[in-house]
């Protein structure tokens, strides 16, 4: 018997029971959430079409290999697979760009491969750093950001390194 097969069905059941006990309209919550999911994907699609076009062109032209080759020694030193170079470079700058590069990696190497998993964990454990800083400090009227950017980029770099490590640790 495979216990991990129980996680998703039991999670769904628990949510439903918990909602009913608290007199929440379970079905309405599900379809409202699904509706916002539809909006999320609809918002992603146009930028993904533009960016995946560019990413596929980069891959076909050989530019991706060039970029990867340049940074391979550095990435080896950090214990990272060189294939994820482009993902790391674009991640703090553009959220949809990172999704495009990451999904190309997952499609190319397979979502359950080492590289596919590392790409997924990197996407899941980082944010679009520059965008977030611009939004928060812009709204708060901050002009001197002091060490906020280097500290946030340290967190990103740590997330990349630990993404590769945790995939190795947690997938036998």
């Amino acid at each position: 018997m495979d216990l991990s097969a129980y996680i998703v069905p039991v999670l769904l059941l628990l949510c439903a029971v918990c909602g009913l006990r608290r007199k929440v309209d379970v079905y309405d919550a599900l379809i409202t959430g699904a509706g916002s999911g539809l909006q999320v994907v609809a918002r992603i699609l146009p930028s993904m079409a533009a960016l995946l076009c560019a990413v596929y062109m980069l891959r076909a032209s050989g530019a991706m290999e060039l970029l990867t080759g340049l940074l391979t020694p550095l990435l080896h030193a950090l214990g990272l697979p060189p294939e994820v170079t482009a993902l790391m470079l674009i991640r703090p700058m553009s959220g949809s760009g990172a999704l495009a590069v990451g999904s190309e990696l997952m499609a190319r190497y397979g979502p359950d491969s080492y590289i596919g998993r590392v790409a997924a964990v990197m996407l899941g454990s980082t944010e679009t750093t520059f965008y977030t800083i611009a939004v928060y400090f812009g709204a708060a009227g901050i002009r001197k950001t002091r060490y906020a950017i280097p500290a946030a980029l340290t967190a990103d770099l740590a997330a990349f390194v630990f993404a590769a490590l945790s995939v190795r640790w947690l997938t036998a």
Partner: protein, 192 residues
């Protein structure tokens, strides 16, 4: 504008490398192939994203967001003591981090902005230490259920799209820690 330069740069690099490597025919085909792949990917991830966002909405209505916010308050008091002294700022902060945990980006940003604004009163446009820490908390996304990534994995045919969760949690937690440690180390040397 930044995205325009990024996109133009990627296309320019592709054309240049394609010409040098004599692979222009492949580059030309890839442009259309990529745009088509985007549609396939979005359709493939739609089901999974809808389901998990529905579940997250349900969890929020069950009071999970409020519970998380309450559990976060002691942590935030230690991390941002000056901001937490003000009850309204602490309320916005805890709701911001809890919305981030649940992956409710649309709800998290306005809450975080409200907290940042209150924290930035009388600091004359210079980010003080607690504001820098708030930004680190928000840029190192800690998400309990990364719905979009799970959706992409499902669209690519993963056997178990959610089995990356422990790795995502571990690497998020360690990255936030690293960011906060870096902020702590830099705050002594970075005066202005």
């Amino acid at each position: 504008m930044a995205m325009s330069w990024l996109w133009a740069g990627m296309v320019a690099l592709s054309v240049l490398c394609g010409a040098v490597n004599g692979r222009m025919a492949q580059v030309s085909a890839a442009a259309l192939e990529g745009a088509g792949a985007a549609v396939e990917l979005c359709l493939g991830m739609l089901g999974s994203v809808c389901l998990w966002m529905g579940v997250m909405e349900l969890m929020e209505r069950c009071g999970l967001a409020d519970g998380l916010a309450a559990a976060l308050r002691p942590v935030l008091r230690r991390l941002l003591p000056k901001a937490s002294a003000d009850a309204q700022t602490l309320g916005a902060l805890s709701a911001n981090v809890s919305a981030n945990l649940l992956g409710l980006g649309n709800a998290a940003t306005p809450l975080g902005i409200r907290a940042a604004r209150r924290m930035a009163r009388d600091c004359h446009g210079v980010a003080h230490d607690e504001l820098c820490r708030l930004v680190v908390l928000n840029t190192a996304s800690i998400q309990l259920l990364p719905t979009t990534v799970a959706g992409i994995r499902a669209a690519c045919g993963s056997a178990a799209p959610l089995d990356i969760l422990p790795a995502v949690w571990l690497s998020s937690a360690l990255s936030v820690t690293a960011g906060l440690l870096a902020a702590r180390a830099l705050q002594a040397v970075w005066r202005t």
